[in-house]
Symmetry: C2
Subunit: 336 residues, 2 copies
């Protein structure tokens, strides 16, 4: 039996599904339930990480400091995780998070931009903190490139590295190949974080574990934007049945998931048409609202917009491409 | 590229999620949308099949004859499928269904009871109808036993045979092994029908196709009881990406799924705690309401009841076992 460490970003990545509006009772209640289930790491924060609460991506209901203090207090055994996107969060945010007892700090960068994590990983290494680096939108890079950037992140001080399937584009063979390549390139634990756009989040996570990933992410009821993340309380028993150990208590985990469904989300994630299309196209589903709005205004099929954005390799921050694509498709007129 | 035939029981298996209350507009609208998408077979009926509408399992909103006539009229290209469980439906029901233009008739039997399908399969063969036989609760039999019963069904006249993962218990390797065994034992197309209790319905279906299944079932938005069936509009593009052809138009399929979400279901299926437990335990999730009611009355954990029912290999029709298990667990008292 191989041990796998479960990392639970319900209170961070899940925030995307409720525009970062999780309140104190939700944070406290879920953290306590996850702690009772024996989940090793409970990640908390604004959906876009430390320091990201803003008019541009949405203000969180609870400020970072108070979120961290609340979850910290609710955790007796679980370690507390935080997430930071360079540019959104700063070293000051990291410093404060460490003071508040963050045990695991993840730096997220676009899959080919490990250098953006260098300064933060170096700072965290100096502080003796457990720093992870996750490569986002990882379907946009080859296994070799991912392995190279993972190795660089370890060089910068990361104690674990891995990939996020941010667009929910991977099928299990894709994951096996990429995790295998990273595993061969680094000595530290490898991370996999899935999204369920193509109904493959659990299967992809099992493929990751089999390929040697040591840290796997999952959210209660799949809480997250669009099709959601890997459903944690499904992932854990399936991993156990597949020959991995998680140390998590099944019934307490199911209780935590029921609490989450009741107290955190208006409804569990649904894999709707645009979630599927964004997964197929390999585009971040966070584009959805802007695509819908602009496509409708121009009488263009939003699905065509997603596929064209995929062909152009659009990534978060390139929202201006949506307007270009809509204008171009609109000018082309309906296809015969 | 290998062709796979998609069989869509949204208007039959999905009925379980709404206590067989699909109305005329829903039937007509979804059948037309599925037809427009080029779905080869659209199955319709009471959730438990022809002739099953009754006080015991619930009366359908629309009688069989009217359901079939309505769907028949809405289909221009797709073939119409019906389902029959021996004991619930009779030869008379089959005769009427054929008169109303049913093209594909599936006889469902418990996985080790192919003999129960003999008479109906013989009758259908005489009539020149395309008869299928599906082995339900197929996780309860070994690959060898499934292959043997599949071969017998072909001997009785089935032109396709396969398995239903009625409890949603399988993981992909389980499916590969079973489909492979059946494939080696028969010359006719092999069927796979999945449920999503462990988040594996799409992955299991891909495994089935890779192992040689030629007919795969899926329901729009996964419409079905509990965790639901394989999500059709996810299954199709994932099969296509994996190297299979379905002949189905993606956008029209997504439109059909959107219609289904809007007009057929109060909400898409959710994989809740008892769906997961019933999948792990290998128990038909249709037991859920009775388990919940009796367990609560006796102060017993319904999850323990499901796991114990699984150990006792309970199957549909053995609902009296629920009371026995609850009484026994209650007498045992809380475990220290």
């Amino acid at each position: 039996m191989t041990a796998v460490v479960i990392h639970d970003p319900t209170l961070r990545d899940g925030q995307h599904a409720v525009r970062h509006q999780l309140g104190m009772e939700a944070l406290r209640g879920y953290a306590a339930a996850a702690d009772a289930a024996g989940i090793p790491v409970v990640e908390v924060g604004h959906g876009n990480g430390l320091g990201a609460s803003s008019l541009q991506v949405g203000r969180a209901a609870v400020p970072d400091d108070l979120m961290l203090a609340t979850v910290r207090e609710a955790l007796q055994h679980s370690r507390m995780g935080v997430f930071l996107l360079p540019g959104w969060g700063t070293s000051d945010d990291l410093r404060r998070a460490l003071k508040q007892g963050a045990d695991v700090v993840r730096i997220g960068v676009h899959c080919t931009e490990s250098s953006l994590a260098e300064r933060h990983l170096g700072f965290l290494a100096e502080q003796g903190a457990e720093a992870h680096c996750v490569l986002m939108m990882s379907h946009m890079a080859s296994p070799e490139d991912l392995a190279e950037h993972a190795a660089r992140a370890v060089g910068h001080g990361a104690r674990a590295v891995g990939i996020m399937d941010s667009a929910g584009h991977f099928l299990p063979d894709d994951v096996s190949e990429r995790i295998g390549a990273i595993r061969a390139a680094v000595e530290v634990p490898v991370i996999f974080h899935g999204h369920d756009n193509l109904g493959m989040a659990v299967a992809n996570s099992v493929a990751a574990a089999r390929a040697g990933a040591g840290i796997i992410d999952g959210c209660a009821r799949g809480f997250g934007a669009g099709a959601g993340n890997t459903q944690l309380e499904v992932l854990v028993p399936v991993l156990e049945r597949t020959g991995f150990t998680t140390g998590i208590d099944l019934y307490a985990l199911l209780d935590a998931a029921e609490f989450a469904e009741r107290a955190l989300m208006p409804a569990p994630p649904v894999t709707d048409s645009l979630s599927i299309v964004s997964g197929l196209a390999g585009v971040f589903s966070g584009f959805k609202h802007q695509v819908l709005e602009q496509a409708r205004g121009a009488g263009v099929d939003p699905r065509d917009v997603f596929f064209e954005l995929g062909r152009r390799q659009a990534i978060a921050g390139q929202e201006d491409l949506i307007g270009d694509v809509v204008a171009e498709l609109s000018a082309r007129g309906p296809v015969a």
